[in-house]
Symmetry: C2
Subunit: 243 residues, 2 copies
């Protein structure tokens, strides 16, 4: 099995990507980050998902962005609530985190090179998403180009390609959800047996992980399950619990 | 004065870049990293250089790469010594650190967006260098493209460019040393009044910062000062001290 680094936030999208990578025969190394996010409860979800789907290793990296001060990462800006789907898809919301996916992919690239892995998976999607610039296909393509220019692995692959190798081993950034709707993502995960009750999408959950039901992430998730015609097992879990 | 983020390792190149950015009228925010480098003494040099040249703020970020294990970052691999200049410029040496400049630039980008800065300076150079893939002009160009695709700042600049703005405020990665020889770099710094005795280039210094004189970085630095026809003030400092 080929090793692959999977960015795993603990949300619905990245959990689906982990299941997809595993089903495709990759040996998954899951990578999560504690970066001062107010919804750090998603890291518990990431651990549960990693255990349930099965990974060879799960690393949680501390990103020391507090030192920059003033960053949206650590701020108490209110999370937008109750926005229409039109408003959600119009412009970049305050939940945007400067250069977040660039940082996450840079760490994934460092780990991939250490593992001699050429495959990195990320759960961005450009349809039912929140307007983040670093979730667009052109961003992913640009990072893949950067990865191959900026690493010893990429230089080696370029040399093998120039020598006519069939599979020169270029670094690849896989974004298998990029053109799926949220409903399409959920259908893929359900078909792979993924338990979405283990995942956490909310930007503003309570300390027990109960989703607020009103932020952009909750609204997009609810729309997805509604379109699939299935209840969200996460909500069922909290409906039956005190949390 | 426009704010700019300057990557400052404490070495000869990045110190020169800081002096260049300051002379060009930028308000410098210096960024250094403690990433498990065996030559962490360079961080003391970075502090001295930042104080001498003058910066608005100097942040040292902890990069938690030990979690990946097996990385060259934290290994005890021997540092190559006494290599010929031909050997130094042939291939990628064991001192290569996976994805290092991608990570450094990703952090610089996150800070720049927080500061509303559009300018990032990095001291890579592609002539007298050690064969690192992430020091090449094509890597820098790829990162600049990525930065503009992956940030709110870049999306805003693209919109202003589409509307015909003269200076849309695109993010720029400045690599003012990219086509200079080591001698040319030193001449620039000397002309700007930079004290190279404060800098530290060696990959394998003793705990007092005394350079080994035999690693690639020491050899390239010595070649540069020889071509300029000046003594290296760092060596003069240690020649007159017990360290």
């Amino acid at each position: 099995m080929k090793p692959a680094v999977i960015l795993l936030s603990g949300g619905l999208d990245s959990a689906t990507v982990l299941a997809i990578a595993r089903a495709a025969g990759f040996d998954p190394y899951a990578l999560s980050f504690r970066y001062g996010q107010r919804h750090a409860v998603e890291l518990a979800a990431a651990r549960q998902v990693a255990a349930a789907v099965g990974v060879t290793e799960h690393v949680i990296i501390e990103i020391d962005l507090r030192r920059f001060g003033g960053s949206a990462l650590t701020s108490d800006l209110p999370v937008p609530k109750d926005r229409s789907l039109a408003a959600i898809s119009d412009g970049i919301p305050s939940t945007y985190v400067p250069a977040r996916n660039t940082l996450f992919l840079a760490y994934a690239l460092a780990w991939a090179e250490t593992l001699s892995a050429t495959d990195i998976f990320i759960g961005v999607n450009a349809l039912d998403y929140s307007g983040y610039p670093d979730c667009r296909p052109e961003f992913i393509a640009a990072f893949e180009q950067l990865a191959n220019l900026g690493t010893a692995a990429g230089v080696g692959a370029a040399a093998r390609a120039a020598a006519g190798a069939d599979d020169p081993g270029r670094l690849r950034i896989h974004a298998p959800l990029i053109d799926l709707t949220k409903a399409g993502i959920i259908q893929r995960g359900l078909a792979l047996g993924l338990d979405y009750g283990l995942t956490s999408s909310c930007y503003d959950p309570n300390p027990h992980g109960r989703p607020c039901g009103r932020c952009d992430a909750c609204l997009l998730r609810a729309k997805g399950f509604a379109e699939v015609g299935q209840p969200d097992p996460l909500l069922a879990r909290f409906a039956s619990a005190a949390g």
